[in-house]
Amino acid sequence: MRTIFCKEMKLNIKSLLIWSLTVGGLGLICVLMYQSMEGDMQEMADAFSNMGAFSDAFGMSTLSIATLAGFFATEVGTVHGLGSGMFAAVIAIAILSKEEEGHTGEFLFSLPVSRTKVIAAKGISVLIALVAFTVICGIMYLIGVAMLGETIPNEEFIRFMAGQLLMNIEVASVCFAISSISGKNRMGLGIGIVMVMYFYDVVGRVVPDLKDYLFIGPYSYANASEIFSGAETDGKAVAVGVIIAVVCVIYAFWEYNRRDLAG
């Protein structure tokens, strides 16, 4: 199992570096842009906070983008939320199905290792990649903040990154389950799921009738604006996220163990 895990990590390392350096780099640029915009920011912050539903959707009604924390939450929050979600989807949705799509399944599964161990090794490799992605991006954001000579609240920053990691794990679990069913790489479907989840959260913050149901989506407990404005994490949303992740992973084990593997 360790050998399969190591091989998966080796095969994923390029993708991990490209995604983490791209998303982390974009976040870093966003942070650095704060300094150049700081002078004009107060006027812009006032304008953005009075844009009704738009301000609500992007958290600018509760948080001033004239502060670094507010700017970080609205700008980096969006970049990291979408970027990390897409990475989680892309890496997880191919992790099992690639063996059948690439016709390598007959080689792998003719070796003395059970399907359960293969699924476990691949699942752990996805989890480690998501943690590494979060750490790399987090370090890059902090480098940006340090380059500005500013600080952002540690507790909120850690809560934000942890929430994003949990959201990534939930997205990855859904895609992992899809990967166990499909013999083909459904990358488009994975990215589509992330986009739907993200826009469900954005729309849910604008449409009053949907606000009570925001907790269903994974972006609800990972929302940067809420976290940086000091709001409590919605325990119900986290619980739903954890339940969805656990159910999807269990389903992936069950499905992949019971079905025929394509040649």
């Binding site: 399944g105 080689f107 599964f109 290792v113 079905r259």
Partner: protein, 231 residues
Amino acid sequence: MANVIEINNLTKNYGKNRGVIDVSLEVKEGDIFGFIGPNGAGKSTTIRSMLGFLKIDSGSIRLLGMDSVRDHEKILENVGYMPSEAWFYGSMKVTDVIRYAADVRGIDCSEEAARICERLKVNTDKRIKELSLGNRKKVSIVCAMQHKPKLFIFDEPTSGLDPLVQKSFFELINEYVDQGATCLLSTHVLSEVNKYCRSAAIMREGRLTMLESSDIDDDTFLSFYEDQEEA
């Protein structure tokens, strides 16, 4: 001689499509067993069921005296399988693939792997994606043989191999069989059955028939295929 392969009343369907029907088969230790039949007759389905890639509908399969479902991992420790199309991870080097297969088995096969690579003239420095089908098949042979298994299962092994490599391949099989291994050889090549196999069976439309002898003439061999087309 003990049975190394023992299949009883195996049935496997793909939804409404026929796979194999009520297949029973015994292969004795030390045999080189020819498994012939037209495309789509069910040879690969039988092999893939034996290896656990497919979940069987009914019947039982025992390999090396063990149950193919319950003792799946234990069986695969002693099986060397070569699929008809040898696919590996394109970005990996040949040497890494061979070592990876050994590492998953948890054994050091470097000496035997080097010996087989030399016999088959395998270039271990190339990446898999740079290899032709024939060269990928040579890598597949190394992966199937390097751990000196008790049972070999080959699915159309020689397609894409040049004649010299084919010769070396069968020499290797004979060497392992002389040391006590058993071999199931699925093939469309009559000369391979006649020359190397000690017993044989034909698969047609999902059903298996044992042949009295592996010494088959051209007309009989072709009739197996013609019957299928007419049906």
